[in-house]
C-alpha cells in the first residue's frame, strides 16, 4: 500500500494511503497531496540509493511520498 507521510512534531503523520485501482483512495490522496503543497510543503520520493526527487504531482506508482518543510541557511 502506498502512503503519503508528513514529517511533523509527532515524528510523522500518515495523510493518505492508496492501492492501485482504488479510485476513491487515490482521489483522497491527490486531494491531501495538493492541500499540503499549497500549505508550503515539498513532496519528495526516493529514487534510488542516496537519491531523491521533488515531485509536484502525486506519483501513484511510488510506495512512499514524504512531505518536508523548506530548509534555510542557519
Amino acid at each position: 500500500m502506498a502512503r503519503i507521510i508528513r514529517m511533523d512534531q509527532t515524528g510523522h503523520t500518515t495523510l493518505a494511503e492508496w492501492t492501485e485501482g482504488d479510485a476513491a483512495a487515490i482521489e483522497a490522496a491527490v486531494a491531501a497531496f495538493r492541500e499540503q503543497l499549497d500549505a508550503g510543503y515539498y513532496a519528495v520520493v526516493t529514487t534510488g540509493e542516496g537519491q531523491a526527487e521533488q515531485v509536484r504531482e502525486l506519483p501513484l506508482d511510488a510506495e512512499l511520498v514524504i512531505l518536508r518543510r523548506p530548509i534555510a541557511g542557519g
Binding site: M7, T10, G11, H12, I71, G73, G74
Partner: protein, 206 residues
C-alpha cells in the same frame, strides 16, 4: 537536473560547485593566515629585538593559534545536538530516518548522531541543524549551517536535510551558510568526542 526549490530564496548566490568550493576554501586559508601571520611575526620580532619580551611573544603566539581554533569551534557548532522532543516522536522520527539510511550509515548515526551520505562534492555528515562536507582526500572539511524551522524531533530535522541534500547536492550547499572551511584535524579537536568517529569514517571514505 532537478534544482532545490529553496535556492530561489537565495537567488543572489552563485550556485555552488566543486571549483567554487575550492576557491572558497582557499579564501578561508588565506584569511586564516592573514589572522595568524601578523601575530607570529610580532612574536618573532619581539624575540629578535629583546629576548626578555618572551612572555609577550608567547601571548602573540597563543593568539595566532587561538583565532583559527575559534573559527573551527564555530564550525563544530553546526553539528552540536539540539534540544530533544518527547521520546515517542523521537522514536517515530528515528524509524523514518533509519529507513532512509543504509545499514552502515544507520549504525553510525546511532553512535554519533550524524548521517553519512556520499556525494559528488565529497562525503557529507548531516546533523540536525547543519552538515559537514569532507572534501575529496579527507584533509579539508566545510561546515555548513542549515536548518528547518518549526518544532520537530531531532531525527526529522536530520531527515529534512538529508532529503534536500539527496534532491540537489549543489543546491543544498548554495542554500546553506558556510560557517568554517579548514583542516579536518583542526575541526576534529573541537568536535564532541562522540561525534569524532563519524568524521573519521567520512575522512576514510573521502
Amino acid at each position: 537536473m532537478a534544482v532545490l526549490p529553496e535556492t530561489a530564496s537565495v537567488y543572489w548566490r552563485p550556485r555552488i560547485d566543486s571549483a567554487r568550493l575550492r576557491r572558497r576554501g582557499r579564501l578561508w586559508t588565506i584569511t586564516t593566515l592573514a589572522h595568524s601571520i601578523p601575530f607570529l611575526a610580532t612574536a618573532a620580532l619581539l624575540l629578535a629585538l629583546e629576548p626578555l619580551s618572551f612572555p609577550v611573544a608567547a601571548i602573540a603566539v597563543v593568539h595566532a593559534w587561538g583565532i583559527p581554533a575559534l573559527y573551527a569551534n564555530r564550525g563544530a557548532g553546526v553539528v552540536r545536538p539540539r534540544p530533544r522532543s518527547g521520546p515517542a516522536p523521537e522514536r517515530v522520527a528515528l524509524g523514518l530516518l533509519g529507513d532512509l539510511l543504509g545499514h552502515d550509515a544507520r549504525e553510525l548515526h546511532a553512535g554519533t548522531g550524524l548521517a553519512l551520505e556520499r556525494g559528488r562534492l565529497g562525503v557529507w555528515l548531516v546533523a540536525e541543524a547543519g552538515a559537514l562536507l569532507v572534501r575529496p582526500g579527507g584533509k579539508r572539511v566545510d561546515c555548513w549551517c542549515v536548518k528547518v524551522d518549526g518544532e520537530l524531533p531531532s531525527a526529522d530535522r536530520t531527515a529534512h536535510l538529508l532529503l534536500a541534500l539527496r534532491e540537489d547536492e549543489e543546491g543544498f550547499a548554495t542554500v546553506a551558510n558556510l560557517a568554517f572551511s579548514g583542516a579536518a584535524w583542526r575541526l576534529r579537536r573541537r568536535l564532541p568526542a562522540a561525534v569524532r568517529p563519524a568524521l573519521d569514517a567520512a575522512r576514510a571514505l573521502a
